[in-house]
Symmetry: C2
DNA sequence: TCGACTTTGTGCAAGCGTTCACAAGCGGTA
DNA sequence: TACCGCTTGTGAACGCTTGCACAAAGTCGA
């Protein structure tokens, strides 16, 4: 969800001027896409990529929505944010849709990734095949431990964190991934920012302080677990309540 | 919305009806907490835990909100969902708040975790110290590769996935983590569900189909990257547009 | 060419979640 | 006790998201 962001822009889309400029059109449209819809577009893209491999050429909103786990009306609305590329009575051309979503998500450019912190998670990320195949080559690895520097991980050499500015500039890193212990996260973040990185994916359980122009997304495993824990507890309480009150509630199943 | 207001002041349970049953009150309240607020409560809890270690005993909504990266009004509303445990003119007692949030999130019980798929990510999760220390002991590891079974990872033995039902029952696993390749994810999920696991954290880039009573949360790194990519693209387009139009927009900084 | 059928794209209303603004309540002080 | 300053808790307004329902627009067969 919306992590920590200053979302203060409140930019007004200007209705008049769109006239001749196609780029401007894309730009205006991209700006208007709700954050929640962007996340779903990425999911649609993944599903569609699978469809392409299966040789599917056309798909209806109903089918795609089912495969993506969303309501079909929502899916159509999401797609309408990026334009009208469907054919009524038929559906969407899979390849056309893929290319438009890729364009909107900015996947036509390469986004080189730097991973900082080569511990367990850093290793996993460096070796994770899902990034390069989706247009996010891991171009640099950093750690503070001198013993690690020089030894390649997953085919990528590890640099010392003190070289972060020059290496990031040289390899055109646009996304930084923080996989360090929490104590080091803010300092690493500051270094990434001053190295010119404007997008950060943070795995450390810390709230990062960044300038407004930097985009941070966080993945906190403990928080995810605790959300699940909440649902376990809620369910247990419901069940306990039902037993106490002697009232059965429809749809509540404890064990299938 | 304005469901029942929590006028039960802290210690004293409401004198009138159902004087005996505090649990029912908690249950009703827990059910009404918005999903988004639950996620933030987990963040507040982490910040508060840090405060406890620093010896802080009291904190105002403004301070806590700052540390958690949210608006103070939102924080107060979030806390109001779990009850009124602050003191006007003073703030919140840190330890009291910690214990109440832990109770609401169900952290008073242990939630044993099973990790399925001992690849790069599975290794990282098995070795990740953040889970046990937060009440989520990793109690079981599974893989389909017979060569891996028996060899412990992070001190935990790896079992074969065929034994998932008996092992999960025996070790009272309540949360399953899927860290397998995407092709295997749905099958693993089905097995977890039939083993009685009702909460699943899914790292595989697949939309899982599960019965209604099963709670799934997904962490998709590629999706996170693509959301960041979208913002990079949007920003680049804005910058390009500004140049084209010759209009500078306040607050847009390309490189600090 | 026409009509039946299918599916998109979207106006609109309902539902949530966030933010504002302020009365209520508490501790400290004289 | 009475007052003052500070902070909580929350009604109410606002804005974003979702889901419905249907006109518009296309295909297909006769």
């Amino acid at each position: 969800m919306a992590a920590q962001r200053g979302e203060g822009d409140g930019v007004v889309t200007r209705p008049g001027e769109t006239g001749a400029e196609a780029p401007a059109d894309v730009r205006e449209r991209a700006r208007a896409i709700p954050e929640a819809a962007v996340a779903r577009l990425a999911v649609y893209l993944r599903v569609l990529s699978g469809m392409v491999e299966q040789g599917v050429t056309t798909i209806s909103s109903e089918e795609l929505a089912g495969a993506a786990g969303v309501n079909s009306a929502k899916l159509r609305k999401d797609l309408s944010y990026i334009g009208s590329y469907g054919t009524r009575g038929v559906g969407y051309d899979v390849e056309v849709l893929v290319s438009h979503i890729e364009r909107i998500l900015g996947l036509t450019r390469k986004h080189s990734v730097a991973v900082v912190g080569i511990g367990n998670l850093g290793h996993a990320l460096a070796n994770y095949g899902g990034f390069p195949s989706r247009g996010f080559p891991v171009a640099a690895l950093f750690d503070i431990d001198p013993d690690l520097t020089g030894v390649p991980v997953g085919g990528i050499p590890v640099d010392h964190i003190d070289d972060i500015t020059s290496v990031c500039a040289e390899r055109e890193v646009s996304i930084g991934v923080i996989a360090t212990p929490p104590q080091a996260a803010q300092a690493v973040c500051d270094r990434l920012v001053s190295a010119g990185v404007q997008c950060i994916l943070n795995f450390a359980p810390v709230v990062l302080q960044v300038p407004d122009y930097v985009e941070v997304r966080k993945v906190d495993l403990a928080v995810e677990m605790q959300i699940l824990s909440f649902h376990v507890a809620r369910r247990a309480d419901e069940a306990a309540g039902d037993v106490v009150n002697g009232i059965g509630v429809d749809g509540v199943v404890i064990r299938p």
